[in-house]
């Protein structure tokens, strides 16, 4: 028997959970303070109302109802209307001002159970959030039968066929699921939100620890909190590799380079251009962007190193009229400082740009600049996420990386991501007979024959002029090429 799922409507969560939360069951959402548990819960209800017309009950044990309303409004959710329509019902179980009740003798929380049932039946709620369960324990310290009470709650919710989320606090990021250690035994489904400080960078991740009897993605996925959108999950390692592979070729913008690649780049390929400073990477980017003229397509440039003015001036120097392209709506140039936001936010920003502008090709200059802002792992995940997103959209993507050495050598960035690319082009300086020469070679061209020779090239006001292959020399990639006397 497969367990049915309830689509939550939270971006990408339904993807990593293979359909959403287990229908009619309780899921535990555990996380340390500040990781967004309350937001996740609120969003679960809000999405239910917005996209599926499903009513929800929000039980708060901690935050005051008025504070939650304020937060919801700031996210652009019309909580007042929802409450009026009976789509959103608060069950206020938060501690109130004044003295805590005096305890004389044993008690249970049956009044809470009754109220919960009343609220759920009254609005016919399909979604319930309890935020946060750990706090009940703190409010009613003498209650030794916490486990039984919780069991009651999950039973009641199960009987009412409500899909529910119970949040709970964690004191450490990697360790016991919840502080009391009780909750996780009561639900078959556990999700963990983490907010880890690693290498001086905050990393927020979501992990589905268990969904009993049902499929889901394993491991952590990055997420970020975006104003007006709430939690957005970036399903980096969760992307499937079933792209429609395209046999269509597109031009690189340089006719001779197309020849070397066996007729141009594949339309859905990721091209990596590696070279040191001044080796001609930005020129290749400009040629690539200019290549949209051929079919009246659209190109998007994300520049992380140069300003608009610089880019346009340089392009003009190579004979490319970027201002004209932009006026035609064929080109969009977006200049960003890598440091202004985290990689997750960059990813979402790029995704949004792509959705709005719908480019046929996209260039990132340079990826190395972006890699400065994050850890290796996060950067790799970013590239995986971005490249698979672009492949799905059938967008040709050109990435540049900067090598640290003037000649020869590879960059850290490159080693990290080269397996993810389809085509690699090396731009290198070669010292030959006391002269610095530029060279270009196609190192890898997935799925096609290519010219493996190393060619010299020059740059002038017509752009890039590929010359003849170097013959009779070796050691070009190390940067020093002794001429062999034949």
């Amino acid at each position: 028997m497969t367990i049915q799922k309830l689509a939550t409507g939270i971006a990408a969560f339904d993807h990593i959970s293979d359909g959403g939360l287990p229908l009619g069951r309780t899921t535990l959402l555990a996380g340390s303070p500040g990781c967004g548990k309350t937001l996740f819960g609120s969003q679960f209800l809000a999405m239910g109302i917005q996209h599926f017309d499903q009513a929800g009950v929000f039980v708060t044990f901690e935050e005051q109802v008025e504070d939650i309303r304020l937060n919801l409004r700031s996210l652009g959710w019309d909580i007042d209307q929802w409450e009026k329509d009976g789509k959103w019902v608060f069950l206020d179980a938060s501690p109130k001002d004044g003295d805590a009740p005096v305890t004389v003798g044993t008690y249970d929380l049956s009044a809470f159970q009754v109220r919960l049932e009343r609220a759920v039946t009254k609005c016919n709620a399909q979604r319930v959030v309890l935020d946060s369960m750990g706090n009940v324990f703190a409010q009613y310290p003498e209650m030794n039968s916490f486990r039984r009470e919780l069991f009651q709650v999950t039973q009641t919710l199960g009987r009412l066929r409500a899909t529910s989320l119970i949040t709970t606090e964690r004191s450490e990021e990697y360790g016991r699921v919840s502080r009391s250690g009780v909750e996780e035994f009561l639900t078959d489904n556990v999700i963990i939100l983490r907010n880890v400080l690693y290498d001086e960078k905050r990393r927020r991740t979501i992990e589905i620890l268990k969904f009993r009897g049902s499929k889901h993605e394993k491991g952590e996925n990055l997420y970020t909190i975006v104003p007006e959108r709430g939690i957005v999950i970036i399903p980096l390692s969760a992307m499937d590799l079933r792209y429609r592979s395209s046999g269509v070729r597109v031009t690189s913008g340089v006719a001779k380079l197309d020849e070397m690649c066996g007729g141009g780049f594949y339309r859905d390929s990721i091209v990596l251009v590696s070279g040191s400073i001044g080796a001609g990477k930005t020129l290749l980017v400009a040629s690539f962007l200019n290549g949209v003229r051929e079919r009246k397509e659209r190109a998007l440039l994300l520049a992380f190193e140069e300003s608009r003015e610089q880019i346009f001036r340089n392009a003009a120097g190579w004979g490319y009229d970027f201002a004209g392209l932009e006026a035609d709506g064929s080109l969009k140039v977006e200049c960003l400082y890598p440091e202004v936001s985290s990689l997750e936010d960059h990813y979402l920003h790029i995704q949004r740009l792509v959705e709005e502008f719908k480019p046929d090709r996209i260039a990132l200059d340079s990826l190395s600049a972006l890699s400065r802002t994050s850890t290796d792992k996060a950067f790799r995940e970013f590239v995986i996420g971005l490249t698979s997103f672009l492949k799905h959209q059938q967008i040709t993507c050109l990435l540049t990386v900067t090598t640290t050495l003037l000649s020869g050598g590879t960059s850290d960035t490159e080693g990290n991501i080269s397996p993810l690319t389809d085509t690699i082009i090396l731009l290198r300086y070669v010292e030959m007979s006391g002269d610095m020469q530029r060279s270009l070679s196609v190192l890898k061209m997935r799925g096609s024959k290519h010219d493996s020779s190393i060619r010299g090239f020059t740059i002038d006001d017509k752009g890039l002029n590929l010359g003849a292959p170097f013959t009779g020399v070796s050691g070009i990639l190390t940067g020093i090429a002794p001429v062999h006397k034949l």
């Binding site: 009740p101 005096v102 305890t103 004389v104 008690y107 249970d108 809470f112 049932e117 609220a119």
Partner: protein, 93 residues
């Protein structure tokens, strides 16, 4: 002193509810000597009242009057503590 107004929330015939009702009846009879108002509310029959009053635990005893409102939770097992909790201890002078 003012005539106290009390509310006791119970859950049907649960053991703690029965115990609390018994204890409270005893206190009313012996210590308050009939000068009180007591309402017993069964949350099974009247869940709306539980919601309005924001009741979590059963049994819950509320002293509505005199102000400030005071709440006690539990089966009211210890009489002296109930009286202290309600602030209804008679002076011994």
């Amino acid at each position: 002193m003012a005539k106290p107004i009390l509310q006791l929330f119970v859950n049907g015939n649960s053991p703690t509810s029965v115990e609390a009702i018994g204890m409270l009846n005893g206190i009313c009879k012996e210590d308050l000597k009939g000068t009180y108002e007591l309402e017993i509310i069964d949350i099974q029959l009247d869940p709306d009242r539980a919601e309005e009053a924001g009741i979590m635990a059963i049994p819950t005893l509320i002293r509505k009057w005199p102000l400030p409102e005071t709440r006690l939770i539990g089966a009211l097992s210890v009489k002296t503590r109930v009286l202290t909790g309600l602030g209804l201890v008679m002076s011994y002078t």
